[in-house]
Amino acid sequence: MAEDLVLDTAIRDWVLIPLSVVMVLIGILRYFVSKLMLSSQLPDPKIVKEGQVIVRARNLRAAANFIPPKSFRSRRVYFSNEENGLLFVPKGQAQNPQAQMFSDPNMAMDMMKKNLSMIIPQTLTFAWVNFFFSGFVAAKIPFPLTQRFRSMLQNGIDLSTVDVSYVSSRSWYFLNLFGLRGLFSLILGEENATDDTQRMMQMSGFGFDPSKSLGAEKDGLDIVQHEWALPKFEHRAEAALKKLIK
């Protein structure tokens, strides 16, 4: 039944706004805490070298047509030959990056710290919201939803006849969680520690994976067909000079 529930404005004053304000403050607090706990991570020489190799290989692919064919071919062999090519990663050695990350104590500590700084405030805030702000309708979502969202969005409300658009404050919490990212990047500048969603995505797919990118570069390099662009330049030079002389 689609009846229009009239929601008390006091809900807006005492639930929605304080919840947003609290989340913003917690975010700022986490930012400063993360700044304090920042441990300077010594770059691993192997990773630095691999990064540079990738840049060089990418340059080679991009500007391949500017150097003579012989040079290009010799460089390609240098990068992708089977024995000691820079980009060649033999199948057995392609370490599982997950194992690699956990074996490096520094990196493991860093990840733990980052995870903790993300998980603990989230859990606490969620528990607080549930404790204080449950059991009533907090807001109305402007678009209609299906019944499947009922369990997630209406957890405190035990009436099954209420329209799913009327949600409890838990959904407002989630909305803030994902929505305040934009606000934080305005206030705190880029690269702040509150970028939870990015971190969550990174957890599922382990960020910097050197062996895979090396393999990708090698494939890209193998595909490139060298078409020496320089002869064209002679014609263009002619045209340029003709124009100059006129």
Partner: protein, 300 residues
């Protein structure tokens, strides 16, 4: 590479400051950003700011960057006392800093105590083996001591790790050219062209090296690269125009008797000669006679 607008801006600021028009701090910031080497001016104006306590406090935290800049400029102009004072001030403020350690090493270098400087740099490298600037300073030290082969070795080792650093490739290329190891220099210039294909300077120097190496194939390739330089600079590069003329005549000499393979650009040579004559007429008309006789002797 400094762009044209930045260059004009720099010159304008320089003129302004030279004629007492203020703006010293902007000038110093621009010099720092563009990494140009104007050590005397930096020293003069930097010191004038630092010695005036009002202006110094107006800088706030940038004061320390200025100390560093003035210290390096002082070392470049061999005013080692000034440099030592600046470094002392920095050390008081940042006692355990690697940057200040590096400045200390540079001061030892400037004094000429190579052994101590080498020790200072090695200890800094132990803490942080991936510090690019210190690696490069060691190469510079080897070069300054005249140990060119040592410089080449360290530079090669550096490039094995940091192979995307095009400044290092450029330095290596120039060292090779100074030692007449042209094949290796050609390799370095190819790397430079790969990383920055639209910079005409690299095409030009690559063509020079190829022309010096000689041989029909290299000469033809050199001609192509001179042509690309002309294209990239709109025909204004005199050296490239000369390069075309010289290459064409060299190719003709080498392939005397074989059929000429000039189907690609028959007119390039004459066009380049005409462009040169026009340029000389405009800018150095008294030398035009020399030019025409030189070109004529090339044609034969």
């Amino acid at each position: 590479m400094v762009s044209k607008t930045e260059e004009t801006q720099l010159n304008r600021l320089e003129n302004q400051v030279d004629n007492g028009g203020g703006g010293a701090w902007e000038y110093l910031c621009l010099v720092r950003k563009l990494k140009v080497r104007r050590s005397e001016k930096v020293l003069k104006y930097g010191l004038s700011i630092l010695n005036d306590p009002k202006k110094r406090s107006a800088l706030g935290p940038e004061e320390w960057t200025l100390y560093e800049q003035v210290a390096i400029a002082a070392m470049d102009c061999q005013c080692l006392d000034v440099a030592k004072d600046c470094i002392k001030a920095l050390q008081k403020k940042f006692p355990e800093s690697k940057r200040v350690g590096r400045l200390n090493g540079m001061l030892l270098e400037a004094k000429g105590s190579w052994g101590e400087a080498e020790k200072a740099y090695s200890s800094l490298l132990e803490d942080n083996p991936l510090d690019q600037v210190i690696h490069k300073r060691r190469v510079a030290m080897a070069k300054a001591q005249g140990n060119i082969s040592g410089a080449i070795e360290s530079l090669n080792k550096y490039l094995e790790i940091f192979m995307a650093d095009h400044e290092a490739w450029r330095e290596l290329a120039e060292i090779y050219v100074s030692l007449q190891m042209y094949k290796q220099a050609a390799f370095c210039y190819e790397e430079l062209i790969l990383s920055q294909p639209t910079v005409p300077l690299y095409h030009l120097t690559y063509a020079d090296v190829l022309y010096t190496l000689g041989g029909l194939e290299n000469l033809q390739t050199a001609k192509k690269y001179y042509a690309s330089t002309i294209d990239l600079t709109g025909g204004k590069n005199t050296r490239a125009l000369f390069g075309i003329c010289l290459c064409t005549s060299a190719v003709a000499q080498v392939s005397k008797g074989r059929n000429k393979e000039d189907k690609e650009s028959p007119e390039l040579h004459s066009l380049a000669a005409t462009a040169l004559e026009k340029d000389y007429k405009q800018r150095a008309s008294d030398k035009l006679g020399l030019l025409t006789s030189a070109l004529r002797s090339l044609k034969t």
